[in-house]
């Protein structure tokens, strides 16, 4: 691995965005005003599944201050990232309660709200289905009659025509039936998870402007401007040059929730009708809960055959993910869930079926770790069930079969940079797994996780060296709180040899910042990190060439330190970058470095969410808990979390990604549950949906394991995406260890714990 001396990479540089944020100067989408701007509000479906018989907007249109009302009939376009199935507003029928049916544009929010009350919609209710397993059964109401003919992003998305299944992912190795026959024990369990809501403190918002010539501009708090641009251009059938997506300078949280088209879609719908006026739509908190996306509710059936000594022989996994009324990100969520569905273990015979299923509920999509929380909940809970049955130590059982370098993954790839074993060892050591005494009703548990990373997707960047020697980084990675702006600046400063203070990363704007697939999947440090590193190296080579004649040395003998180009052996023979530029170019000096990173792929792999992974997201966590036998309350004493960062570009922000993820995972474990009555969300508010507060967050010991990746910048890979994934099973395993009860349905609320304790006592 790189042995070079690093000055900035690997240090805990202060976040580049912190000062603006603590001073209240950071500008978010809600702060953006565009001249002539109108305000939009969305009328939403009151039924989970119904035919739209008639919509009467005439009274709303006549309200003073209303500039226009749009319904689905006015915007005959379809969008979707993986499957083209979603209208901008419901057409012909509504498929979930809360779906957009009409949008009003008015001079202010109050007028738009008032106008909504004047719209009359006549519905004819249709039978609805809410459970993902029921939805796959014959005779279930069909939510999309034409799923088989929808346009797909790639051939590896496999809807089953005539069903509610919008993707069926399969992975088979060996002979699973033979494996079960050879096993000493067979374990069969079903695990479920509810919908978790993203709960970014900033809601979705967008401003859309469509002019007479169908030039489309969107200001948004979207995580992936180029993906949005492509989706908009193809939906509206305009060239990409006609679409510009501008991301607000700051985005108030993401966790996967701000990808795709959310507020953008409804803002575009009304802007398509009311031309030449920018129209802003800010979602309410209630819309966040009812009409955006959440985490896929899941049912996972896991059947595992093992030998007496604990050797895994065969595993069959059936995963049902409820994606709601439209596919959204679901097909790829189910793909990732499937690829790692059996867990990060050597199992010779595997059969994995992962179904992404339409239901008549609010959509599910990308959410921190997607596919991981559902499957790790199953495979890590069952791991402890097996360990207990066989009388084996849970850590030992995992260590024996966890993937290491050189193993062939279930997907067929030979693994490299597999730091998971190290993560588990570090966790076990920190929590003194074998030695620390615990009190009465206290217990400990561990859980591992592996998850895929979207592969293969590219990232591009420009590094622009200014006349005064400062540096602008043009990169479409979106700063959503994860700290990518800081990481990007650190890598550029390191590679180019300039101080951190000289580097600034621009907010994404598809008119200026080059292509990037997305700010998702923990891909930015690896992909954009490589891209900006290449761009900085390119700029550096150009600067050295320019300095060569001035310093009378070969470019190979030159380098840049602290913003000065100098002869390597003689630091005093130096020129500031500004001088190098002005001596060559006079008053108009600049250097433009470029970088484009696209992973090298094995031949024959799909180029859209392939099974081969450029790297894996890996982590292990341990939990210590105490269970109150009288009330069923679970107190988390401590969470130990080790995740494989490859190389921590910024150790401080890296550890804080772990802390944040663990707390989100603990919420999923113990309390969070978006509740429904039929298709209606019952707790669409921070008063009733229990996001953990400062008083609820557990104590965490975060650890960044540095198992370097040969293709990562400085060995780095991603980390933030999945730091929430192992937390629920680690907690459940600790609860079992404490009081001997096994909860298989999240969340582990005190009522469930107490009921399980009672059942156990009765046995």
């Amino acid at each position: 691995m790189p042995t070079e001396q690093l000055d900035i990479v690997g240090t805990s540089s202060i976040r580049v965005d912190a000062r603006d944020k603590v001073m209240g100067k950071a500008i978010y989408i809600d702060d953006i005003q565009v001249p002539g701007m109108l305000h939009g509000k969305v009328l939403r479906s009151r039924y989970p599944h119904a035919r739209i018989v008639r919509i009467d907007t005439s009274r709303a249109e006549k309200l003073p201050g209303v500039l226009g009302v749009v319904t689905g009939a006015d915007v005959p376009f379809i969008h979707g990232e993986s499957l083209l199935d979603e209208p901008f507003l419901a057409r012909d029928k509504v498929r979930y309660t809360g779906e957009g049916v009409a949008v009003v544009a008015a001079v202010d929010v109050a007028t738009a709200e008032h106008a909504l009350e004047l719209i009359r919609v006549e519905y004819k209710e249709l039978p609805a289905v809410f459970d993902p397993v029921e939805a796959t059964e014959p005779g279930a109401p069909l939510i999309h009659e034409n799923v088989g003919t929808y346009t797909r992003a790639a051939s590896n998305i496999k809807p089953i025509p005539g069903t509610n299944i919008c993707n069926h992912f399969q992975l088979k190795t060996g002979d699973v039936e033979k494996g079960f026959a050879e096993s000493d024990y067979i374990f069969e369990d079903t695990f479920t998870t509810p919908m978790q809501a993203h709960c970014c403190i900033e809601t979705h918002g967008a401003i859309a402007l469509v002019d007479d010539e169908t030039n489309i501009t969107v200001w948004a708090n979207n995580d992936s401007p180029h993906r949005a641009r492509k989706e908009i251009a193809s939906a509206f059938k305009v060239p990409m040059t006609k679409v510009r997506v501008i991301i607000a300078p700051y985005v108030g949280g993401n966790f996967g929730g701000k990808g795709g088209l959310k507020a953008e879609a409804v803002a575009l719908a009304i802007a398509w009708k009311v031309r030449n006026r920018p129209i802003k739509i800010m979602y309410t908190r209630e819309e966040e809960f009812c009409s955006t996306i959440g985490r896929h509710p899941s049912v996972v059936r896991m059947k595992t055959g093992v030998k007496q000594d604990g050797t895994f022989v065969a595993r069959a996994v059936k995963i049902y993910l409820a994606t709601g009324a439209y596919a959204e990100k679901g097909p790829t969520v189910s793909t990732f869930a499937g690829i790692s569905g059996a867990g990060p273990y050597r199992i010779p015979n595997l059969s994995i079926d992962s179904y992404c299923v339409y239901t008549n509920r609010q959509l599910a999509g990308a959410f921190r770790g997607y596919g991981g929380p559902q499957t790790a909940w199953a495979y890590e809970s069952q791991m402890d069930i097996i360990a207990h049955k066989l009388g084996l130590d849970p850590v030992e059982l995992r260590l024996r079969q966890v993937y290491v370098d050189g193993d062939r993954h279930a997907n067929g790839q030979i693994l490299k940079s597999e730091g998971l074993r190290d993560c588990l060892v570090q966790v076990a050591e920190s929590m003194e797994w074998n030695s620390k005494p615990l009190g009465k009703n206290q217990g400990r548990g561990v859980a591992l996780m592996e998850r895929a990373i979207k592969t293969p997707f590219g990232s591009a960047a420009f590094v622009k060296v200014n006349e005064d020697g400062t540096v602008d980084v043009l990169s479409s990675t979106t700063e959503v709180g994860q700290g990518s702006a800081t990481i990007v600046c650190q890598i550029v400063a390191e590679e180019l040899g300039v101080p951190m203070a000289s580097v600034r990363k621009a907010a994404p704007d598809t008119a200026f910042t080059p292509y990037d697939a997305s700010t998702t999947s923990s891909r930015s440090t690896f992909h954009m990190g490589n891209a900006v590193k290449m761009a900085a190296a390119d700029a550096k080579q150009q600067l050295l060439a320019l300095a060569s004649k001035l310093l009378k040395a070969s470019p190979d003998d030159l380098t840049i330190t602290q913003g000065k180009v100098h002869v390597k052996a003689m630091p005093e023979r130096a020129l500031p970058i500004s001088k190098v530029l002005s001596e060559n170019y006079g008053a108009s000096g600049t250097v433009l470095g470029r970088g484009y990173y696209y992973p090298e792929m094995p031949e024959g792999e799909s180029n859209y969410f392939s099974r081969y992974m450029v790297f894996w997201l890996l982590g292990a966590q341990g939990a210590e808990v105490e269970v109150n036998r009288e009330t069923g309350e679970v107190k988390i004493l401590k969470i130990y979390a080790a995740h494989d960062a490859g190389k921590a570009i910024n150790p401080m922000t890296c550890l804080d990604q772990i802390r944040g993820g663990v707390t989100l995972g603990a919420g999923f474990a113990l309390s969070e549950n978006l509740m429904f009555k039929g298709g209606t969300v019952l707790n669409p508010s921070f008063l009733s949906y229990p996001v953990p507060s400062a008083l609820d967050a557990p104590e965490i010991e975060p650890m960044a394991v540095e198992y370097a990746h040969p293709d990562g910048p400085y060995g780095a890979k991603g980390i933030g995406e999945t730091t929430n994934v192992p937390t629920p099973p680690a907690i459940a395993n600790a609860i079992y260890n404490a009081v001997g009860i096994r909860i298989k349905d999240l969340p582990i609320t005190p009522d469930k714990v107490l009921a399980a304790l009672k059942r156990k006592d009765e046995r």
Binding site: L43, Y47, A110, E286, V681
Partner: protein, 334 residues
């Protein structure tokens, strides 16, 4: 949601305030801290033509105490002010516990004692925006004909979840109700109806002005315990308030009151607890009271993320725990 349009008045006397309320014949509402009200206004659950602000009425934000008459708390005293009051901390620690159990530091700073007592009852089938309310048939509390909490019911079962009410009930509080002509003092328990649609019995023009709490007896103890999923923000899924005093020098109970919140349409006193007066308080007696409280609790699945059965079961546990804490603070071995 934006706020609906309304007029706003800041009367300088109770008489003026009451007159404004009466003139508007039910179309005016009082605003105290505003935390409960503004939420209801934004959701169009209430659409008053006039808001009558109590903030400029003299002395409503005062706290006074004397050994003889006990404690007087003005209705506009904020929960934060109550929790910071030296005399309340010393004499009525349960009131501080209850005030600090309300919402968050911000809601405590804004919310008032009177507003907390008069807060509306809750139901997740109703407390939604106009748009989200369309997703369910209009319920009784909205003027409709169905109850989503208890199907087939012709009564509204919205849940009362205030934290101060049980504590003040257990402390034998009385409240002054004023209108434009008279003031009267009633036991706090008489303030509450058993109607989910309107949890208090206040009529148009009536204003709750002062809360009176008798001085604590010697050898007294108390506890307020609240069940909720998070340690903050959440409304009570159950609240148990217990006050008791003991005879000098022995373990005989002299006075006792137990009140519950969060498990019914109104906060209520568990009368059976009074049977402990003059008796030794042992495990059997506590279990008996806990059983009586258990029977009177009617939690429903119209609030929160825990099953009604669990919340009801927790009544026994929390009452027992409350006895432990209260006896200990009364100087008794629990």
């Amino acid at each position: 949601m934006t706020l609906p349009k309304f007029d706003y008045a800041e009367p300088k006397s109770l008489r003026q305030a009451s007159a404004l309320l009466r003139q508007q014949r039910g179309k005016a509402m009082l605003i105290a801290g505003g935390t409960d009200l503004l939420q209801a206004l934004k959701n169009r659950l209430k659409t008053p033509a006039l808001l009558v602000d109590l903030k400029n009425i003299p002395r409503l934000d005062h706290i006074s105490y004397s050994e003889k008459t006990g404690l007087q708390i003005g209705a506009m005293v904020s929960l934060r002010q109550l929790a910071n009051s030296a005399v309340i901390k010393e004499k009525y620690p349960m009131l501080v516990e209850a005030a600090l159990a309300v919402g968050t530091a911000q809601l405590q700073a804004m919310g008032t004692v009177g507003g907390n007592l008069c807060q509306d009852s809750l139901c997740q089938f109703r407390d939604r925006s106009p748009m989200a309310r369309l997703m369910l048939e209009p319920c009784l509390k909205l003027g409709g004909h169905v109850c989503h909490a208890v199907s087939g019911s012709n009564k509204c079962w919205a849940n009362y979840s205030g934290d101060l009410a049980p504590a003040l009930l257990a402390l034998h509080a009385r409240v002054t109700i004023a209108d434009s002509t008279e003031k009267k003092k009633i036991p706090l328990s008489k303030l509450y109806s058993d109607d989910g649609k309107r949890p208090t019995r206040l009529r148009a023009g009536q204003i709750l002005t002062v809360i009176h709490v008798p001085p604590p007896a010697p050898h007294s103890g108390s506890a307020y315990l609240k069940l909720r999923l998070r340690k903050t923000i959440d409304y009570a899924l159950l609240g148990v308030a217990l006050y008791l005093s003991m005879e000098d020098g022995d373990a005989v109970c002299k006075d006792i009151a137990l009140a519950l919140t969060g498990v019914g349409k109104a906060p209520f006193l568990v009368k059976e607890a009074e049977q402990l007066k003059g008796k030794q308080v042992g495990d059997a007696e506590i279990a008996q009271v806990a059983e009586a409280a258990f029977k009177q609790a009617h939690p429903l699945s119209n609030i929160g993320g825990l099953t009604p059965a669990y919340r009801k079961e927790m009544v026994r546990v929390y009452v027992r725990k409350a006895f432990g804490v209260a006896l200990e603070s009364a100087g008794q071995d629990a």
